[in-house]
């Protein structure tokens, strides 16, 4: 048996090694994405439409689709998640109904995104006849996003001190008024951080979209902003391949000669976007907190 002091040294040394190795793996991963991807980025790459068989296509349409879907999904899911979180934290009594509802939300958050996507395919694309469309995709993303967003908003509400609620009620405000006039304004910074972070996850989601928003990206006419025209960027009924789906698609069945270069570039764009979301979440959260509170 080693003496405890040597044992201690060996163990701590090993832990240093393990942590170092993990950092190395993670940094190598990030480095690989950026080093192989950044040289591909150019204005042309980011704006030009994709080419199916030739070199030199871009990801302009896919990038636009990703953002459009993200915004639509957020517009649908945010009010629902906000309402659900308010009820769960401010109104719900601690009984079996609430426990069941919480369990349901947990189940939804642990469902594989393929299953959510398949349900979206079955329900929106086939049953409601929306076809492969932005709208179907936005609903699928909403389902994927709802549990995460609800939980993060609920956590934000939890950080607001009870004295604030008591203060509101003592002033004769109803519970609802307390929530909307006192609690929510105080919680805005951390709610915003949660929204941006979940936006990052939605932005990179692909499995839920393959069979809902589709795998094709028809050319868009960026001068036509009438949502009822098929080539209009705003049309919610057109199929829309996003950037993440594009990476999967060209790697599993792509026939373009520069598939690898395009995937590296697209991966770098995705990762940069996630980085941006992360920094924005931190920065805006802090900034807003300073402005909205006296702290």
């Amino acid at each position: 048996m080693m003496n405890p002091k040597t044992q201690n040294k060996v163990a701590i040394g090993t832990l240093y090694g393990v942590a170092g190795l993990v950092v190395l793996i993670l940094l190598a991963l990030l480095g690989y994405i950026l080093v192989s991807g950044l040289p591909q980025l150019s204005w042309h790459f980011l704006t030009a439409p994709a080419k199916a068989f030739l070199k030199g296509g871009g990801v302009g349409v896919q990038l636009y689709n990703s953002f459009y879907l993200l915004i639509l999904a957020m517009l649908i899911s945010f009010p629902i998640a906000l309402g659900a979180a308010i009820y769960l934290y401010e109104y719900a009594k601690d009984n079996w109904v609430t426990t069941t509802i919480r369990t349901a939300i947990e189940i939804l958050s642990s469902l594989p995104s393929v299953v959510v996507g398949l349900f979206g395919f079955l329900f929106f694309v086939v049953k409601l006849r929306l076809g492969f469309s932005i709208l179907s995709g936005a609903f699928a993303l909403t389902f994927f996003n709802l549990p995460l967003l609800t939980r993060s908003i609920e956590d934000s509400l939890r950080t607001i001190d009870t004295t604030q609620r008591e203060g509101g009620l003592a002033l004769g405000l109803s519970r609802w008024e307390t929530v909307t006039r006192v609690i929510l304004p105080a919680a805005v910074p951390s709610i915003l951080t949660g929204v941006i972070l979940s936006a990052g996850r939605v932005f990179g989601e692909a499995a839920a979209l393959i069979y809902t928003a589709g795998q094709s990206a028809p050319a868009l006419d960026f001068t036509d902003w009438n949502p009822f025209n098929i080539s209009s960027p705003l049309n919610p009924m057109r199929p829309a391949e996003t950037l993440a789906v594009h990476i999967w698609k060209i790697n599993s069945e792509g026939i373009m000669p520069d598939a690898k270069a395009i995937s590296s570039g697209s991966s770098a764009v995705l990762v940069l976007a996630i980085l941006l979301f992360n920094f924005a979440a931190r920065y805006l959260g802090k900034r807003l907190y300073k402005r909205l509170t006296s702290a």
Binding site: L21, L26, L111, V116, F143, L146, A207, L275
Partner: protein, 310 residues
Amino acid sequence: MMKSTQQLEQQLKRHSKAAKLEIWGKVVSFSALILIVAVVVGIIGFVASKGLATFFTNHVSLWDFLSGKSWNPGVTDANGKPEVGALPMIMGSFLITVLSAIVATPFAIGTAVFMNEISPNKGAKILQPVTELLVGIPSVVYGFIGLSVVVPVTRAIFGGSGFGILSGTCVLFVMILPTVTSMSVDALRAVPRYYREASLALGATQWQTIYKVVLRAATPGLMTAVVFGMARAFGEALAVQMVIGNAALMPGSLVDPSSTLTSVLTTGIGNTVMGSLQNNALWSLALVLLLMSLVFNLIVRLIGRKGRLQ
């Protein structure tokens, strides 16, 4: 006179503007909550009704489905029964999940201990932001890196095509590592400070404190972290599909092309006709996937209930 009392009574009993707003707010927020529950029920109901059709409409026996080794729903075998043996995919999914969890757990817990117990400074400065960022990296990006780095390396070392369970395990290992690490950190953080102080005060070394006190106290939390990682690995679709080779065969070795439930689903569902046996069989796979995610959920709950710190 009578009438005016009645009026007064009515006036007093009427809801005020604020009370109406209160009721309105409560109803609206409750309906949002109910909507989410309806979505969950809807997903489970729809997938179950589709997935069970294989057994009730097409009369495939459940045992044949779970234990059959050949997956070829379009073809009927010698007995005139369709070949819908899902065992290769179920095996593939479980193998890849268990293997990646076995590899990732020591790394994740080691890193978490380092971040929380040994060098909180470096942990907060370097490891925390990096893991947080990596949790958010989209799975297709992992799949793409697997395809362009892991698969060629596997091919160079073990020969063959490079596609297979080994490559899938490597990709999933890196994928679940940040998730398991950050959840393990939370578990370690929940261990009260005085546990450590008491142990150190008894003359235990730092390692003895970590090994005999902190890790023991955090065991339920660490197990939850690993189960979450496994659930993520089990349900991951695209990253795995890109590197596993997609051959619906029993995995002969770790470097043979094989397939998982999710990989067959992503490649197959678009190429089959709704309502056909081929399609229903795929929905049965989706149902297996759904049930497994419920099982993982249940395990997390059981751990949480049994292992709560008293």
